[in-house]
């Protein structure tokens, strides 16, 4: 397009849509795919820790949990139990040792710090500046992620670094320290390794704010640090099979959190930089959505239209359909994505009103002024703890829809023990952080109080709504599946848009008689970014099972597998012809994905036949999805391989007619396509 002539509005928009889409489309595809998978990051992490697959719930887990805690932490000041649930088969236990005098207050702070990670409130320099370890550990720490509820308990569980924890070193140093991370890593590992076997991220049950207790690896470096810093409170976590009371020691894995982290801050660079890049891409996405709607013209008229087998027309239809059908999703996910990165992209509000202290703002936004309140002191008298099951049952009667998420027992075994039971999730999306709680007397089991829930303001309701939507923070799994489906459509939309750029310029190339360098670049990047990424993700899961379970820095190796395979795929895309590269890569991705259930069964996981029967739905769904998506990829590969380049002049365009004729044509095309495709391959 030339800029020296006036253009029609729609033409300009079309130009904008094409180029805004192309320039960041490759990145957007990666963001869409990894982000879509991240809706199920807890389930993915569970799959990647086959040690947990056989955990069951027999309804008596609570007694076992208390028994374990009594054995392991009889003198603890506080116990926390995160119940198993639809998103996690295991119970997560943690405790906090009684502190030395005067240290009680440092707990809440850290909880707040963690809570910011997900909401985009994390201070940009923070995680980098802490120099706490390398990226993979950062990723595992994601357990700190969504914890809408109960900052208090979280804060306590999360103790371990106290005052020294808030690296103020922040912004400027982030970059410099970045380089040191890799070096720091082994040291950190060494520090924490022997303590309880291979550490593992157990960031599960996200969404509903129950992840907090699971940031095991994060806890460990934190612990190590705490020791280095002069022995602050230690914290301890265990993962328990609710049906047996057995303590599970899952392998170390980067898990679903790697994908989650990657989708908004990429990898291998400063987080700040990564977020800026993704933020810019998100803005381009928004521009592409708006301009796309303008260009489309016939949103309602062409709402259901898809005309297969018509070359460029079909691609445009597919691009339009995937865009329009999931348009609400695209708009919301892009806009909320921008909001989540907003504190980074537009820091003015935080800088002026809070002097740059994002944590202070987060705290005020969520109305958690009392997060630092000290725990009640024990009386010193011994008293037996009341059984938990009846209390949980009572709480469940009170919240039939929301369920019970976590139990915190303060001063267990003391006459002044209290038991706090917290909702697993809140009623709506706009009330993040407003989980209801019930506090019971730990000896008599009487209800002491039902703390009121603070009403959130209109602004923070809107914020909560958008962020909760973006993160799929729903009680039931259906909305998450719907988000997932829309995310798949979104990925297809981006991919079809990218493919279309090449297809739309077919005529130019024919006229020119060769492929210009720019076109070739787009071709290579298309293959590498789309099918290459899919292969890399499949390989990431393969790596998870094929790497030795006790490998040091295992999580890092998984990530290395991911990027090495992606790089190889890119190389392959350079070496091979466009179509051949597509066919081979899509086939490989499909095969790798379809064999994942087999791999799962063969490498210690619960295989599909068993997991379905035994109600291990997290694992079963992963396998089933791998099968279905793999099959779709194979189907796509076949379609591409059968594709006949646009009819040469001579074979006139087909009469657009009744569906029967179309079907017959499609069959003809399939039949005719094979030899032709083979011929072109040979040529």
């Amino acid at each position: 397009m030339r800029f020296d002539k006036p253009r029609h509005f729609r033409q300009s928009m079309s130009w904008l849509h094409t180029w805004a889409g192309l320039v960041l489309g490759w990145l957007l595809f990666a963001v869409f795919v990894t982000g879509t998978l991240a809706f199920f990051r807890n389930e993915i992490t569970t799959w990647m820790q086959p040690e947990l697959h056989s955990a069951r719930d027999d309804g008596h887990g609570l007694e076992r949990a208390v028994a374990v805690l009594e054995r392991k932490a009889p003198d603890a000041q506080q116990w926390s139990i995160n119940l198993q649930g639809p998103r996690s088969p295991v119970m997560n236990l943690s405790w906090r040792e009684a502190p030395a005098a005067g240290e009680r207050r440092s707990a809440g702070r850290r909880g707040e710090e963690g809570g910011d990670a997900d909401s985009g409130l994390e201070p940009p320099g923070g995680p980098a500046g802490r120099g706490e370890g390398h990226r993979a550990q950062d990723m595992q720490r994601e357990g700190r992620g969504d914890r809408p509820e109960g900052a208090r308990a979280e804060g306590m569980q999360r103790e371990g670094r106290g005052a020294g924890g808030r690296a103020e070193g922040g912004r400027g140093e982030g970059m410099q320290r970045e380089g040191m991370r890799a070096d720091n890593a082994p040291r950190q590992e060494a520090h924490t390794g022997g303590e309880r076997g291979p550490g593992s991220a157990r960031p599960q049950r996200g969404g509903e704010g129950r992840e907090m207790a699971m940031a095991a690896p994060q806890a460990e470096p934190a612990q190590a640090e705490a020791r280095q810093q002069g022995g602050q409170q230690a914290q301890n976590r265990l993962i328990m099979d609710p049906a047996t009371g057995e303590i599970l020691q899952p392998r170390q894995t980067a898990g679903g959190n790697f994908l989650y982290r990657f989708h908004f801050e990429l990898y291998g660079m400063d987080r700040l930089t990564g977020r800026w890049i993704v933020g810019i891409a998100t803005m381009f996405m928004f521009v592409a959505i708006i301009s796309g709607v303008i260009v489309h013209r016939n949103i309602f008229k062409d709402f259901f239209t898809f005309r297969p087998g018509k070359g460029k027309r079909s691609w445009l239809d597919a691009h339009n359909a995937t865009g329009v059908l999931a348009l609400p999703f695209h708009v919301v996910i892009t806009f909320s994505g921008l909001l989540l990165l907003g504190f980074q992209l537009m820091p003015a509000a935080v800088l002026t009103a809070y002097d740059g202290d994002t944590r202070a703002m987060a705290q005020e936004m969520r109305g958690r002024g009392n997060a630092n309140a000290p725990l009640p002191r024990p009386s010193g008298e011994k008293a037996a703890l009341t059984p938990l099951a009846p209390l949980v049952a009572e709480a469940e009667r009170e919240w039939p829809m929301q369920g019970v998420g976590a139990i915190t027992i303060t001063n267990p075994g003391d006459a002044r023990a209290t038991i706090e039971i917290r909702q697993a999730r809140t009623e709506g999306l706009s009330s993040r952080g407003a989980a209801r709680r019930m506090v019971f007397d730990g000896v008599t089991g009487e209800v002491l109080e039902r703390p009121p829930v603070a009403e959130s303001s209109a602004a923070s309701s809107a914020w909560n709504l958008m962020t909760a939507l973006h993160m799929g923070r729903f009680a039931s799994s259906l909305p998450r599946w719907l988000l997932f489906a829309s995310g798949v459509l979104g990925s297809l939309m981006v991919a079809s848009g990218l493919a279309m750029w090449v297809i739309a310029r077919q005529k130019d190339r024919e006229a020119l008689g060769r492929t210009p360098r720019g076109h070739r670049l787009v071709e290579v990047l298309n293959v590498a970014a789309v099918s290459g990424l899919l292969i890399a993700i499949a390989a990431y899961f393969w790596g998870n099972r094929l790497l030795p379970a006790d490998l040091a820095e295992r999580n890092l190796w998984e990530i290395r597998v991911f990027f090495s395979v992606w790089a190889l795929a890119a190389l392959h895309a350079i070496v091979r012809k466009y179509k051949a590269a597509w066919v081979e890569q899509l086939t490989l991705a499909g095969v790798l994905a379809m064999l994942l259930p087999v791999l799962n069964g063969a490498s210690g996981g619960v295989h599909l036949g068993h997991s379905l029967g035994a109600g291990q739905l997290q694992v079963a769904c992963f396998d089933a999805c791998a099968l279905v998506l793999g099959a779709l990829l194979m189907f796509a590969a076949r379609k591409v391989s059968l594709h006949v380049p646009r009819a040469k002049p001579g074979t006139k365009s087909r009469p657009a007619g009744a569906s029967k004729a179309k079907k017959a044509e499609a069959v003809d095309e399939l039949a005719a396509g094979l030899p032709v495709a083979l011929k072109t391959e040979e040529a």
């Binding site: 008229k301 709402f303 259901f304 239209t305 898809f306 005309r307 297969p308 359909a321 059908l325 999931a326 609400p328 999703f329 009623e427 709506g428 999306l429 706009s430 709504l465 909760a468 939507l469 729903f474 009680a475 259906l478 909305p479 719907l482 988000l483 489906a485 829309s486 459509l489 009744a658 569906s659 079907k663």
Partner: protein, 107 residues
């Protein structure tokens, strides 16, 4: 179950909307129904979608209900679009069946 009801309604609604469009009606029933019929289908389609929204909000509350409604609409419309492209004939039957199921569940 509730969600399935909402989904069935959305599916039936999109079917009706699809048939209310001249081009697609030809694909589905072979000929274009007359103007009044198409108007009727259109009204039925929108009404079903609106009812689906009302039900979703009733079951899930405003925020989650709307999100679920949009999500289910996406899936339903996608199914209708796919069928229309490859197997248009059974669409009307499917729409009717979905409507029947929805009404049954509603009662």
């Amino acid at each position: 179950m509730m969600d399935f009801l909402v989904f069935a309604m959305a599916l039936a609604g999109f079917n009706a909307l699809c048939v209310s469009m001249e081009r697609h009606a030809k694909q589905v029933v072979g000929h274009a129904p007359d103007e009044t019929k198409r108007r009727g289908f259109s009204a039925l389609g929108w009404a079903l979608l609106a009812l689906a929204l009302a039900l979703a909000v009733y079951y899930h509350g405003a925020s989650i209900g709307t999100a679920v409604w949009f999500g289910l609409m996406t899936v339903a419309a996608f199914i209708v679009g796919l069928l229309l492209s490859y197997r248009p004939r059974p669409l009307l039957g499917l729409g009717g069946a979905a409507l029947a199921v929805a009404l049954l569940l509603l009662v």
